[in-house]
């Protein structure tokens, strides 16, 4: 009998597999990022190029755009695996479903959250956000985007078996994103006006820990329901 590989090596294999698959289909990574840039670009065009106004809107605009672009890339998390049956095999693994979900979420974050994080300062400059606030923006995105991936995983797991899950997915997930949006945009906002941001960041850290401990469990349960 072959030895069952440990949890960590399974995690590594799964993440490597997802990254490799994504590299073969680069458009899937790039499209949400282009979407992010375009949405942010729309705002100056819509409300006018007034620097003060843009600076005031910037935290909210950047965070809402990040939310929407994370939404867009979510479906890819389980969908192709569900279509070709790989998901069922993943659920049959001797390791707990928890591991599969964590690996999927981590891969999703590396492909959507991390590039977003790197792209955000550039867009923040377009919107005349001051330097301190840009640093805070990056910290909040670093804390917040994993939460988006984690909560999103529950939504995708619930809707993966449905034919038209896309709109439904946003209906389910966006209300749950609200605390992250409030804290993230709030932190950048107070940084831009020179206030302390410790409280915001602590709460975002708490949200991250909470969703890290609960979301994979819920997403795993949802996957089992969707696949059976």
């Amino acid at each position: 009998m072959r030895e069952v590989p440990g949890v960590l090596s399974a995690l590594g294999v799964l993440i490597r597999r997802d990254l490799l698959l994504a590299l073969r289909r680069r458009a899937q990574i790039l499209n949400p990022l282009v979407f992010f840039v375009i949405v942010v670009t729309l705002f100056p065009l819509g409300v006018g190029p007034e620097p003060n106004l843009l600076q005031k809107l910037a935290p909210g605009v950047l965070w809402v755009a990040a939310l929407l672009s994370a939404m867009l890339s979510l479906e890819a998390m389980f969908h192709s695996d569900f279509e070709d049956g790989a998901l069922e095999q993943l659920l049959l693994m001797p390791q707990p479903v928890f591991v599969t979900v964590i690996a999927k979420v981590l891969a999703h974050w590396l492909l959507s959250g991390l590039p977003l994080l790197l792209l955000a300062p550039l867009l923040a400059l377009w919107l005349h956000l001051p330097g301190d606030a840009i640093v805070v923006l990056m910290v909040t995105l670093a804390l917040g985007t994993p939460v988006l991936s984690l909560i999103g995983a529950i939504g995708v797991a619930l809707t993966v078996g449905l034919r038209r899950g896309g709109v439904l997915l946003s209906l389910l997930v966006l209300p749950l994103y609200i605390p992250v949006l409030i804290m993230g945009a709030g932190a950048v906002d107070s940084a831009a006006s020179g206030l302390a941001v410790d409280a915001h960041l602590s709460i975002m850290g708490a949200l991250l820990l909470l969703s890290l401990s609960l979301a994979p469990w819920a997403a795993g349960a949802a996957l089992r329901i969707s696949v059976e």
């Binding site: 529950i154 619930l158 809707t159 078996g161 449905l162 038209r164 899950g165 439904l168 209906l171 389910l172 966006l174 209300p175 749950l176 609200i178 605390p179 409030i182 804290m183 709030g186 709460i203 949200l207 909470l210 609960l214 819920a218 349960a221 949802a222 329901i225 969707s226 059976e228």
Partner: protein, 241 residues
């Protein structure tokens, strides 16, 4: 069930009487304070029903009890309605009091988000063909939502606050008894109203799901035999298939 319905009617009527005629008008808000007797009970109900829905959904998910699934499923539209009533009456109350229909205040916003959560739940429920899967999938969503409700509430509250502080806590009350009485009557009446609607909807849902079971067919035959329901008003379950 007729008993509960009767008690509901009685309580709401009494509540309306005391609320609309017997209680004094507020010295600041005058008669518009009477909106409270509808607004506050439905707000309480909207949160209570979400909690009950999540608990029922969890029971259905864990112990596979069909009735719990049904209770959760039929509760959602009722809860959404109460949430909607709360928002509408609150908006009507806000216009004369705060001078605005809508304010991005903490409680208003969290109530609105609660409505979105209900709508998401209903949407997910109706997206599945298979009832069993629908119940289990939406149960997961309801539980996740229930964990999220306090987080959303506090984050929104922390974000912005205009609404007056809670005036009715356990053991403490800033409301005069003459206003408290109709408020509590209405609250109890609204709770019972929920129970009545819940029972009615659950009964309908059970009958519909079990329409091909022997006992439902027998019931239909019996009803057809009485004059109250002439046979052509009752279709046998097989015609739906």
């Amino acid at each position: 069930m007729p008993w509960v319905a009767g008690a509901t009617a009685l309580l709401i009527l009494a509540g309306l009487y005391f609320g609309l005629f017997a209680s004094p008008a507020d010295y600041q808000q005058r008669d518009s304070v009477r909106i409270m007797y509808v607004h506050v009970p439905s707000a309480w109900n909207s949160m209570f029903i979400y909690l009950l829905m999540a608990v029922a959904a969890a029971i259905g998910l864990i112990w596979n009890i069909k009735v719990a699934d049904i209770v959760a499923a039929v509760s959602a539209p009722i809860g959404a309605s109460f949430t909607f009533i709360t928002l509408v009456t609150g908006s009507l109350w806000g216009k004369p009091m705060w001078g605005t229909w809508w304010e991005w205040d903490a409680r208003l916003t969290s109530e609105l988000i609660l409505l979105f959560l209900y709508l998401g739940y209903i949407a997910l429920q109706s997206a599945f063909e298979d009832r069993r899967t629908a119940a289990r999938a939406s149960a997961v969503l309801a539980i996740v939502g229930a964990i999220n409700v306090p987080i959303i509430y506090y984050s929104v509250q922390w974000w912005n606050t205009l609404h007056q502080p809670q005036s009715l806590g356990v053991g403490t009350s800033a409301i005069h008894p003459s206003m408290l009485l109709p408020l509590l009557l209405m609250a109890l009446g609204f709770k019972l109203l929920y129970v009545v609607i819940l029972l009615m909807r659950t009964r309908t849902e059970v009958l519909e799901r079990e329409r091909n079971a022997g006992w439902v067919q027998e019931l239909a035959q019996e009803l057809a035999a009485t004059d109250k329901f002439p046979p052509d008003t009752i279709r046998s379950g097989n015609e739906y298939r």
